[in-house]
């Protein structure tokens, strides 16, 4: 039973953001509560009950005039406010305590306790609170204490639910598991390890609970069902209503309590919302739906330009070579005569080029636990051309940036990506495309097969509709006809009984079948260029062959495939591109690549193929050469290179780290490691091979 309480919907976002909200929210909360607290000091003033002439307008002696029995409204307002706030806070405190406790027990112990508590909470959430309060108050003696208890009773479940769900999340965190493995008791873990991480959430819920408790209390008193002996803001309004103050136009009588209630409730509500997620929410500034095409270099000025500490080895582009420091001081090998420009002159006539990628770099700004910004480079200095008639396979391990490359080509990079360099599509600069233009080429020119992991398919739409969507953009086809065409495409990918299965939802398919649905989706509409991201992932050998046959029979201008699957690459591709850590290491025709790869990494890849019998001894005995030469390298082992400004304490070692992390990415595993490998080699052209390795520098 998945009830979404309002708060669990509002509460989103990563944990680390809460720590910031915690302090600022507490400040706002204090500002909201301060007037109330000061009011508490004079809540028992006799002057509030002293009688003067009735219905005096504001003015001499009476700041806000008097009411029907001649009480001074200003002093009434103050003494009533103290009481209203007291009721609200007391009820919220009780509800929060009960809710936190029950939420902790339910979330930590699960099992029967969880079921009972959450069942109770669900029932309480179903019962509307104001009617319940009215009934209970009418049965009990009217009195503020009863009102507090009753409001607390109706508002604990919300807190309990939120605390429970946070509890479930934190329980699985490593530090909790650590504490448990060290033998810490349940109470210790709950109070010392888990609750501190729930504090800001509980405070937020408590703040919202104050607002809703005050709302209920004033509502009840406004109805005249509160304690008749204790004046609150609500009962002041009740007096106005009973005394016909509205119709007689005694504005000074009704306006102050209305304003006081509104402002106070609003203050607590806003403080609570802020505590929950900050003013604008935790949401990224930019959503995928809102994003225009990325404008290289312009979009994110706060990112340091790609000219880092060591420009010539960072960017292999002739444009930036003027920035290179003196070769002798830094890099004795990269003498000018040795610097073959990385960007080859177009080896094909321009009209045959579909994609032309120049020095493409993609970075992700991420915020880590310590709230420091770090940058992850997914692509670095990628130069690539996709020409007509080509069948390209991009191979490499996970995290080598292959998928990001496709997304950049489609203009679909995530919101937090920063792009540099240029992508040309049919000779036009993609960065200059409008959103509409991007949509047009995605609908008519480029088809894309996304990876099947996660919900790449919409879980609530029939697969047939999802497949035929693009055909329905192309021409106004009825939904029914779209289904028929979808069934045909699905049948082509080897799914039997496809006429029935187009009416299925993704959850009724297995992972491999969903993969083929994605393929059918890309085939729909017969776009001229096909980019496929891991089309054979999760397929068995038989289906893999089916998919290969589809790919071989495709009549497209160009097809590019990202794959782990070397068998598939070998059968399918004309051109092989090897990527490693966001960098192209080798590019070669398939035949030549599979018979004689140049780059040591490519060799290792091919050796790791099961058909080659044994694993590459280099990989098996891999040892860290940097560890011998430079023990300060901390980042090198990551699959992404992280360039962050976090270790400012030791600037020199930091500099060195950066320098090394910008060397050849494969260097630490390489058999043919050489001192030169501390610096990034260019992509040397070597007959039909292009290879990024110093070993082949001489042949250039």
């Amino acid at each position: 039973m998945a009830f979404l309480t309002p708060a669990s919907v509002l509460e989103t976002g990563p944990m680390n953001k809460h720590s910031r909200n915690w302090k600022e929210g507490a400040l706002i909360l204090m500002a909201a509560a301060l007037p109330g607290v000061s009011i508490l000091f004079f809540k028992n003033m006799d002057i509030a009950n002293a009688l003067f002439s009735p219905w005096l307008p504001p003015g001499d002696g009476h700041l806000l005039g008097t009411n029907d029995v001649g009480q001074d409204i200003f002093f009434q307002l103050i003494s009533a406010g103290g009481r209203s706030l007291m009721v609200g806070m007391a009820a919220a405190l009780t509800a929060t305590l009960v809710g936190t406790l029950t939420g902790c027990v339910a979330g930590y112990y699960r099992g029967i306790a969880d079921r009972v508590i959450m069942g109770l909470a669900d029932i309480f959430l179903l019962i509307p609170d104001i009617p319940l309060v009215i009934v209970l108050v009418s049965f009990f003696e009217p009195g503020l204490f009863n009102v507090i208890i009753v409001i607390a009773m109706t508002s604990w479940p919300g807190t309990a639910r939120v605390v429970r769900s946070r509890m479930l999340k934190i329980k699985e965190y490593p530090f909790v598991l650590n504490a448990r493995s060290l033998g810490a008791g349940d109470g210790h873990i709950i109070f010392k390890h888990i609750l501190p991480h729930t504090g800001e959430l509980i405070l937020a819920k408590a703040t919202l609970a104050v607002a809703s408790a005050m709302l209920t209390e004033t509502g009840i008193s406004f109805l005249g069902l509160g304690d008749p002996c204790q004046v609150t803001w609500g009962s002041m309004l009740h007096g106005v209503f009973a005394g016909a103050g509205l119709i007689n136009g005694y504005w000074w009588w009704y306006l102050p309590p209305v304003l006081c209630i509104s402002v106070t409730v609003m203050g607590f509500n806003l403080a609570g919302f802020y505590l929950q997620k900050g003013w604008g929410g935790n949401f990224p500034a930019d959503s995928p739906l809102n994003r225009q095409g990325q404008i290289p270099g312009k979009t994110h000025p706060e990112v340091p330009a790609l000219t880092g500490i060591n420009p010539p080895v960072l960017i292999n582009n002739k444009d930036t070579q003027t920035l290179a420091p003196e070769p002798d001081t830094l890099n004795p090998i990269s003498k000018p005569h040795n610097q073959a420009p990385d960007t080859q002159p177009p080896s094909f006539p321009l009209d045959r080029q579909i994609f032309r990628i120049l020095n493409l770099g993609v970075e992700f700004g991420i915020e880590c636990e310590t709230n420091q910004k770090k940058t992850i480079k997914a692509l670095d200095g990628v130069n690539l051309s996709l020409v007509k008639g080509d069948r390209m396979a991009i191979i490499g391990e996970s995290g080598s940036g292959k998928s990001i490359l496709f997304l950049a080509m489609l203009g679909l990079l995530p919101y937090n990506a920063r792009m540099s360099g240029e992508v040309f599509f049919r000779g036009k600069r993609m960065a200059s495309f409008s959103r509409k233009h991007y949509q047009h080429i995605r609908a008519w020119d480029i088809a894309y097969v996304p990876q099947g992991a996660g919900n790449a398919l919409n879980p609530v739409i029939k697969v047939g509709h999802q497949i035929s969507e693009r055909m329905r953009i192309h021409g106004s086809i009825s939904k029914k006809k779209g289904m028929v065409m979808a069934a045909r495409l699905l049948g082509q990918t080897g799914i039997t009984n496809s006429h029935q299965r187009v009416h299925y939802y993704p959850h009724q398919f297995s992972g491999g079948m969903n993969q083929r649905v994605l393929l059918a989706m890309a085939l729909a509409g017969e776009n001229s260029v096909l980019l496929a991201d891991e089309p054979t992932k999760g397929l068995d050998d038989k289906t893999k062959e089916d998919v290969l046959n589809i790919f071989l029979k495709l009549n497209r201008e160009a097809v590019a495939v990202v794959t782990h699957d070397l068998w598939f690459a070998r059968q399918f591709a004309k051109t092989i591109v090897v990527m490693y850590k966001g960098i192209i290491l080798e590019q070669a025709p398939a035949d030549s690549f599979f018979t004689a790869p140049y780059h040591p990494y490519s060799k290792a890849l091919l050796n790791a193929l099961p058909s080659q019998g044994i694993l590459n001894p280099v990989i098996m005995s891999s040892h860290n050469r940097y560890a011998e030469t430079d023990p300060g390298d901390k980042h090198g082992g990551d699959s992404y290179r992280i360039d962050g400004g976090d270790d400012d304490d030791d600037d020199r070692s930091n500099k060195k780290n950066k320098e090394i992390s910008r060397g050849c990415p494969w260097a630490r595993e390489c058999e043919e490691f050489h001192d030169r490998c501390r610096h990034m080699p260019r992509l040397f052209s070597h007959n039909i091979h292009k290879v990024r390795c110093w070993c082949h520098a001489a042949g250039n």
Partner: protein
């Protein structure tokens, strides 16, 4: 179906809980339970009768039986629609409630529908482009509206109406053609207030969905952003949204009771108020039961809609969750 059964059990349990609460209030409160069964007026009338008559009444309400037996009778009576007799009105409770509930629902149901549509659409548009112009304008506005208590909003409107003199200051229409005029203000308050809430729910639901992988897939197909938003994203955000709307129905019910008082609308709110003032206990607890039952029913209905909208629930398989 497993999901449906669990939900059904939950609603039955909630209904039982409400009945049990009622029973507890009648029998566990200090004093004679007959006060709470007959109401203060009825009890007063009864005390003037000879003791044999009082004993007879005790017999009719089975007050001498065991509590368990009384509880079972209490439940079976309530389920048959016998909610007691109001001595204040001199009629059966259910007959008094029936027309009044109609007036309340006349306000409530259109408000629910309008606010769900408006909040859903505006929230989806704002969520589709966070920090866009819609988000920038609507979010602070609705945050403000949501933070002001509903009846305060009503009072502001009433003050406005008093000075402008265009709309009736509340009360009930004497002729049916005036209905819209009289409904305008109370409904306006309800709609505005709950639109604000539903707007925020939908906005956040859409923002969460927008980062799902299927949005990327839809974009890679060249669909227009607005189509992606309304066919792909909203379809996923809708089921949880509907659940929240149903949960909010109870809140709106309570709010409408107070708003009715502001505008002297002759619905359940004014009825309960009069019942509390005259200590007409059977009418109070009867009204409470009916209100709870309608809220529970609304939630059950939402669960059914939820199941229709989400194929994963429909086939009882939530593997994708």
């Amino acid at each position: 179906m497993k999901h449906m059964t669990a939900a059904f059990c939950q609603y039955v349990l909630a209904l039982l809980a409400v009945l049990a609460l009622n029973f507890l209030l009648i029998h566990m409160m200090p004093g004679d339970p007959l006060v709470h069964i007959l109401g203060e007026e009825g009890y007063y009338q009864m005390t003037r009768q000879p003791p044999a008559y009082i004993e007879k009444i005790r017999e009719t309400y089975q007050l001498n039986d065991s509590l368990l037996k009384q509880f079972l009778t209490h439940i079976s009576r309530a389920l048959q629609g016998d909610l007691g007799w109001s001595h204040h009105h001199g009629r059966a409770v259910i007959k008094i409630i029936y027309p009044r509930m109609g007036w309340t629902l006349l306000l409530l149901i259109p408000s629910v529908i309008i606010s769900t549509m408006a909040g859903g659409i505006l929230g989806a548009l704002a969520g589709g482009s966070p920090r866009g112009w819609m988000d920038r304008i609507l979010t602070p506005f609705f945050l403000l509206i949501y933070s002001i208590p509903g009846y305060c909003l009503g009072l502001f409107l009433l003050i406005l109406a008093f000075h402008v003199d265009a709309l009736p200051m509340g009360g009930m229409p004497s002729v049916k053609t005036d209905m819209a005029l009289y409904m305008m203000m109370p409904m306006g308050v309800l709609v505005l207030h709950s639109t604000a809430y539903k707007y925020m729910i939908m906005k956040n639901a859409v923002i969460q969905e927008i980062h799902e992988a299927y949005v990327m897939t839809a974009r890679s197909k060249g669909l227009y952003d607005r189509d992606i938003l309304f066919t792909h994203v909203v379809k996923n955000a809708l089921p949880p949204f509907i659940t929240v709307v149903a949960m909010h129905f109870g809140f709106m019910m309570g709010g409408s009771l107070v708003v009715e008082m502001v505008f002297s609308w002759q619905g359940m709110g004014t009825l309960i108020y009069d019942a509390v003032i005259s200590r007409d206990y059977p009418l109070i607890s009867g009204s409470f039961m009916i209100i709870c039952a309608s809220v529970i029913l609304a939630n059950a209905l939402a669960d059914v809609i939820h199941g229709v909208l989400d194929p994963r629930i429909r086939s009882g398989n939530r593997s994708n969750e």
